[in-house]
């Protein structure tokens, strides 16, 4: 940390393009953020490429196949209490749950910087609980589709790649959510035990970056896989 401070004490303060040039050309640390935050961003950029590979691969098989693509709006319809099937209803609920969890996470970061530990921990636990419920719904969705005969190599309604894309993309995203829930629980516990009282609460923001990224990926999956 003393390393950080000695570097930032003489840091350039210009903003915009001038600041950009100063940050890169000065003979010192480029990113004027805690190293953990810079590293989380580097990780998220690399993770962006992984998810992009999946989504671009999905686009390619969907364009190339001459077999009809199954209608997502019908595949993911669900009847609730014996109603007519409501299109995409569970996916919509999952989307709202993830947005809600992003909101609670943003508030947790805010209260962390206000040093309100109790609210920070409660909001992080709420975020983790919402994330866990998201994973449970995803597991339900998988179970339902598997029981209807969707497999990575085929399905009853059209192009076989539908199943492989569905299981790979939502599975990889679900894995990220699961990892995020564990990460949140670990950090929330450490916050409540006073680990960061002296170090500062950047760690909550770093955890938040990961969580918002998981929500961000879902925005793209929701649009490209479920809606288009």
């Amino acid at each position: 940390m003393s390393h950080n401070e000695s570097l930032s004490s003489s840091s350039p303060t210009a903003k915009g393009v001038t600041g950009f040039i100063q940050d890169w050309s000065a003979d010192k640390q480029t990113y004027q953020v805690p190293w953990g935050k810079a590293m989380m961003w580097i990780f998220l950029v690399s993770d962006t490429f992984i998810f992009s590979c999946f989504l671009v691969g999905y686009m390619t098989v969907r364009i190339t196949t001459t077999e009809p693509w199954p209608l997502a709006t019908e595949v993911f319809a669900l009847s609730i209490f014996g109603s007519d099937p409501i299109p995409l209803v569970l996916i919509a609920i999952m989307t709202f749950i993830l947005i809600t969890s992003s909101g609670t996470m943003a508030l947790a970061v805010n209260y962390g910087y206000r040093k309100d530990k109790k609210k920070t921990v409660m909001l992080m636990l709420a975020t983790a609980a919402l994330g866990a419920s998201f994973v449970c719904m995803q597991a339900f969705e998988w179970t339902k589709l598997i029981s209807e005969g969707v497999r990575p190599w085929g399905n009853p309604w059209g192009a076989p790649q539908f199943g492989s894309v569905f299981f790979m993309v939502t599975g990889f995203h679900g894995l990220h959510v699961t990892g995020g829930v564990i990460y949140l629980l670990i950090i929330a516990r450490k916050v409540s035990k006073g680990h960061y009282d002296k170090k500062g609460f950047e760690i909550v923001e770093i955890t938040g970056l990961y969580w918002h990224f998981v929500d961000l990926v879902w925005v793209f999956i929701f649009a490209f896989f479920y809606l288009l």
Binding site: F20, M59, I63, P70, A92, M105, G158, F201
Partner: protein
Amino acid sequence: MASAEGQQHPLGIYLKIWVLLFVLSLFSYMVDYLHVQGSLRWTLVLLFMALKAGFIMAIFMHVKWERMALALTILGPPSVLLLLIFFMAVEGNYTESARVEYFGQDANQEPEHVVHH
């Protein structure tokens, strides 16, 4: 130095963006629910998606308030993906046309309707 105290902003902006994200999600769901089809569907879904992604990154992930050196590190490399998307779309269309032309496959089949039980 701003980053020593971290990203501190009034609560109100988070709450406003939160509500906005809900509304945008609702809009994109309504596109499907109301069976909007064709190019209007694509336009609306992509528009709401871009707005949601933009607000999450700019406000919730604080990119709006970061120094340009970090913001461009985050946004620069992924923007090259647009080229990959373009190339793969061109290549994909070629593959599909080859399958139609040389293998006689029918690219205009209707998907089976889904019956849940």
